[in-house]
């Protein structure tokens, strides 16, 4: 693995660990965030028959750089009578929550942050930090609207974690492993081994599993969508009622931190769905590297497939944002408790029965 | 479908002298002049009577007839004394599809008209606007406040013919 390779290279495990933990941030998340902000504006523009940013750089490529420079030089004002420490710490907490999740995500066969064996539970736990950060931001900015927004988003995220966990439980029950790395390894060789098509099971069991797995994938995708506060579940920043939810009072670099955290979270969530159901970094139709015999090419191909799947799901999130109207708060809760959770329990039950056959 | 004359005669025998006269000389639609204190009883009858059924008040507008005599007080401020302010009611029946115009006149110093909000709810804001613009007080109106002008505008009533703009309002210069 990358860690061992670095360990032989540098000799000291602290240095190796340091490099391995920095890699996802600088190699992957920051470029992804730059790309995602621009992609969101371009995708939404073309979906609405317009052109999107065209002025900065060719076809608006440098637009995100311009945005970041703007945010950097903006005055970082702190409103009067706020709880200073909480106010400053909240964006950090939110960013930490979403960035820490990348530790357990296997980018390719060769690179994984830390191969802990309860990867999924770690990720779901860490994203809980985001809720604390949002509540802190809502409370500290001393403004009626952000408090209302923070309360709503906390309630939403907590209630949507239950269907996510239930679906993850069914997958664990089926595959028996918690670690994301083993999960990806399990779904090797061609796409019909992917968990969405029944995974490594055979015969009758596999055919029975397929509809349930597809339903499961839909449910986990919608509930993780809600955890990231993306439309149709973006009540906390519902422009029309609460002006813009918990990060109304933030400006400058703090606002950029929230923005970055949202995009990092977006990719983390779509990566989880890709890993669980669509075979993480496994390629759907075999590796070029194996056929040509260059074994060093395989990890790069795997990294390519992983980011391709992740980006596809991020595109679907953007696609949903520009087609669907927004839920009302009570409808959102009703949808979760009356539709998602019962369905995931039914799937858990059925998959349990099927594994007994 | 009843013509204004029939309605007028019908009201005349019902309310006697509080229905004053039917004016048809001026062009377009004729109107009935009514006594300002009886107007809500008349309108209640107009709405509830089986053959009339005037169930919707299209429009209620105040008007400064400016028929008083012009008086120039000390620093050349021209103001009209005497004369009348009147209120026009355009009502129609959506079922029988006939229309009627009523007119009510009160003197300019103490303009008082009984409200018709109990008969048609849409009269509420129209009356508040007539009060705001002309100062016509509508008796037992649910909440008679100014509606378009600022709530504490004490420089008189803007749409009267002798209205003069104040120089300053709460320190802000009232433009040109």
């Amino acid at each position: 693995m990358m860690y061992d390779w670095l360990y032989n290279l540098t000799g000291s495990d602290i240095l190796a660990m340091f490099i391995v933990s920095l890699l996802p941030l600088f190699v992957f998340i920051l470029p992804f965030a730059l790309l995602a902000v621009l992609a969101e504006r371009k995708v939404s523009a073309h979906m609405q028959d317009r052109l999107g940013p065209m002025r900065v750089g060719y076809h608006g490529i440098l637009q995100t750089v311009a945005d970041i420079i703007k945010l950097l030089q903006k005055e970082d004002l702190v409103p009067h009578a706020t709880d200073k420490t909480l106010f400053n710490f909240a964006p950090l907490l939110v960013f930490m929550g979403s960035y820490a999740a990348f530790a357990a995500i296997p980018f390719s066969g060769f690179f994984i942050g830390s191969k802990i064996d309860l990867g999924i539970i770690f990720i779901v736990g860490i994203t809980g930090l985001v809720v604390a950060g949002i509540l802190m931001a809502g409370w500290a900015s001393n403004n009626k609207y952000s408090l209302l927004g923070a309360m709503r988003s906390a309630a939403q995220i907590i209630s949507y974690e239950i269907p996510t966990l239930l679906i993850i439980l069914t997958v664990i029950m089926l595959t028996g492993t918690l670690s994301l790395y083993d999960l990806s390894e399990l779904q090797t060789a061609y796409f019909w081994n992917w968990l969405i098509l029944g995974g490594p099971a055979v015969g009758l069991q596999k055919i029975l599993l397929i509809p349930l797995m597809i339903m499961g994938c839909l449910i986990i995708y919608t509930s993780t969508l809600a955890e990231v506060n993306r439309t149709p579940f973006d009540i906390p920043e519902a422009e029309s009622e609460l002006v813009s939810g918990y990060h109304t009072e933030y400006s400058g670099m703090k606002f950029a931190m929230f923005f970055l955290a949202e995009y990092a979270n977006m990719f983390a969530v779509s990566a989880i769905v890709a890993i669980i159901f669509f075979g993480g970094y496994q390629s759907p139709f075999g590796y070029l590297g194996n056929t040509l015999g260059w074994t060093w090419l395989v990890p790069i191909e795997q990294f390519f497939w992983f980011t391709a799947k992740g980006l596809f799901f991020v595109f679907v999130q953007m696609w949903l944002r520009w087609t669907l109207p927004r839920f009302r708060v009570d409808q959102l809760m009703a949808f979760c408790w009356k539709y998602l959770i019962p369905f995931s329990f039914v799937i858990l039950l059925l998959v349990g029965l099927i594994t007994l056959i | 479908m009843k013509s204004p004359e029939e309605i007028f005669n019908f009201l005349k025998e019902k309310f006697g002298n509080s229905v004053i006269e039917l004016k048809t000389d001026k062009p377009v639609d004729p109107y009935i002049i009514v006594d300002p204190i009886e107007v809500d009883k008349i309108c209640l009858l107009l709405r509830d009577h089986s053959e009339l059924q005037f169930d919707s008040l299209m429009n209620l507008s105040g008007i400064d007839d400016a028929n008083g005599d012009k008086v120039k007080d000390e620093n050349g401020l021209e103001s009209i004394k005497g004369g009348t302010l009147s209120v026009y009611y355009n009502i129609e029946s959506t079922s029988i599809k006939h229309k009627l115009t009523l007119r009510v006149s009160t003197n300019r110093e103490k303009p008082e008209v009984v409200t018709v909000t109990e008969v048609w709810k849409s009269a509420d804001w129209h009356e508040r606007e007539a009060y705001d613009m002309y100062g016509i007080v509508f008796l037992n109106h649910p909440d008679l406040r100014r509606i378009l002008m600022p709530y504490d505008w004490e420089f008189g009533y803007p749409l009267r013919k002798d209205y003069k703009n104040p120089e300053f309002y709460r320190g802000m210069k009232v433009p040109y």
């Binding site: 939404s44 979906m47 609405q48 028959d49 317009r50 009626k144 439309t231 149709p232 973006d234 009540i235 519902a238 422009e239 029309s240 009622e241 002006v243 520009w322 087609t323 669907l324 109207p325 927004r326 839920f327 009302r328 708060v329 009570d330 409808q331 | 001026k26 062009p27 377009v28 639609d29 109107y31 169930d55 919707s56 008040l57 299209m58 429009n59 507008s61 105040g62 008007i63 400064d64 026009y88 355009n90 959506t94 599809k97 229309k99 115009t101 048609w120 709810k121 849409s122 509420d124 804001w125 613009m133 100014r146 509606i147 378009l148 002008m149 600022p150 803007p158 749409l159």
Partner: protein, 371 residues
């Protein structure tokens, strides 16, 4: 011991992204549920009626445009009808036809704004841009005819300022051909979307008898189930020559008269307006549009109440003339002013997010309320 809760007063507006202009709503909330709404208007009051008394009759027309700035053709039409009744001028047929075409195009453009902003209030941003893309085509039609895109001063007393542009008819036919599939697309995207229905069905229900008592008119009254349209019930101009029907709210997705009905009645009305325009374009006669315009407009003493079916409802002008060049009084019965009166009735018992939905569905314009 019951938990002591007290009411929270939330001020929505006058600067609020979804109040369609400068309107302040004082919401009295019990938790998330609304107990009472007090609208405060008057922020956009430009004393139209005082101006009208200082202007001559033709000079008032640019002022009428600025009242309901999304449907200026309709405003001019109403005012001009009133003055023509006072002067009882005989208009050439061509003028009547062009006025009907322009009023119906303006109705579609105004409904597109209403539907687009309503989708944006509920959260769907794409239909908003689709509606405005189609509206631009109509504005171009207006621009080639009279030169302006929003405030036209096109319909004059006794005629029109310009005759229609030579290729106006061809461009309108093209527009109609392009616009029909777009309406179907808008329906797929928004009208039948389950989340949109969830947000608007059974919300802000306006019962029929309260509607009539409050004098509500236009799409809001038709959505509550009453077939009442001035173009048919109190015909003016040449509307009696065309056949079109009046869409009425049937409560497909919830009770009749809820937000979804008010939205869907406007979508169907756009279709009817297209039919009127098509028939009007076929039957338009030849003639000179400026022949009946009087040099000096000096109507005899008297008063008239003329009303027109505007996209937002019944727009009435009560004009009193004292025989001079300037009108003695022009009182405007604005449909949004009357709809705003019934708004508190609609909101009782719903949530804050619904206030935005209901306000979007009644489609008010503050220029018209405050005059």
């Amino acid at each position: 011991m019951a938990l002591k809760t007290e009411e929270m007063v939330l001020n929505m507006g006058p600067q609020h992204p979804s109040t369609h202009g400068v309107l302040r709503l004082e919401l009295q909330l019990d938790g998330e549920i609304i107990t009472n709404v007090i609208p405060h208007i008057g922020y956009l009051h430009r004393c139209f009626e005082k101006h009208a008394e200082a202007m001559t009759y033709p000079q008032v027309i640019p002022y009428t445009d600025r009242m309901d700035y999304l449907a200026s053709m309709g405003n001019e039409f109403g005012y001009v009808l009133g003055v023509e009744k006072l002067l009882n001028i005989q208009l050439p047929e061509r003028v009547e036809y062009i006025r009907v075409i322009m009023a119906e195009l303006q109705r579609i453009a105004s409904h597109l704004v209403a539907l687009g902003t309503y989708g944006a209030d509920i959260g769907a941003f794409t239909p908003f841009l689709f509606c405005f893309r189609d509206r631009e085509k109509i504005l171009n039609l207006f621009e080639i005819t009279c030169g302006a895109r929003l405030l036209y001063n096109y319909i004059w007393i006794g005629g029109l300022s310009h005759d229609i542009h030579p290729d106006f008819i061809r461009l309108t036919k093209e527009f109609i051909k392009e616009f029909r599939p777009n309406v179907k697309e808008l329906n797929d995207l928004l009208s039948y979307n389950r989340i949109f229905i969830e947000r608007t069905a059974n919300v802000g229900v306006l019962p029929l008898d309260t509607a009539i008592n409050y004098g509500v008119s236009g799409p809001n009254l038709r959505a509550s189930g009453m077939k009442w349209d001035l173009r048919k019930d109190d015909p003016y101009s040449v509307y009696h020559k065309f056949d079109y029907d009046i869409p009425v709210g049937k409560g497909e997705k919830g009770k009749t008269g809820d937000c979804w009905d008010r939205y869907y009645v406007r979508v169907l009305e756009m279709e009817e307006s297209l039919k009127i325009i098509e028939q009007a374009i076929e039957q338009i006669p030849e003639g000179d549009v400026t022949s009946a315009i009087p040099k000096r407009v000096k109507p005899p003493e008297g008063q008239v109440y003329a009303r027109v079916e505007n996209p937002r409802g019944e727009l009435g002008y009560f004009i009193i003339s004292d025989g001079s060049l300037n009108p003695a009084r022009v009182k405007v019965r604005a449909p949004s002013f009357v709809t705003m009166q019934v708004f508190p009735e609609l909101c009782k018992g719903f949530m804050v997010a619904d206030v935005v939905a209901i306000l979007g569905s009644v489609d008010i314009v503050l220029g018209e309320i405050d005059r």
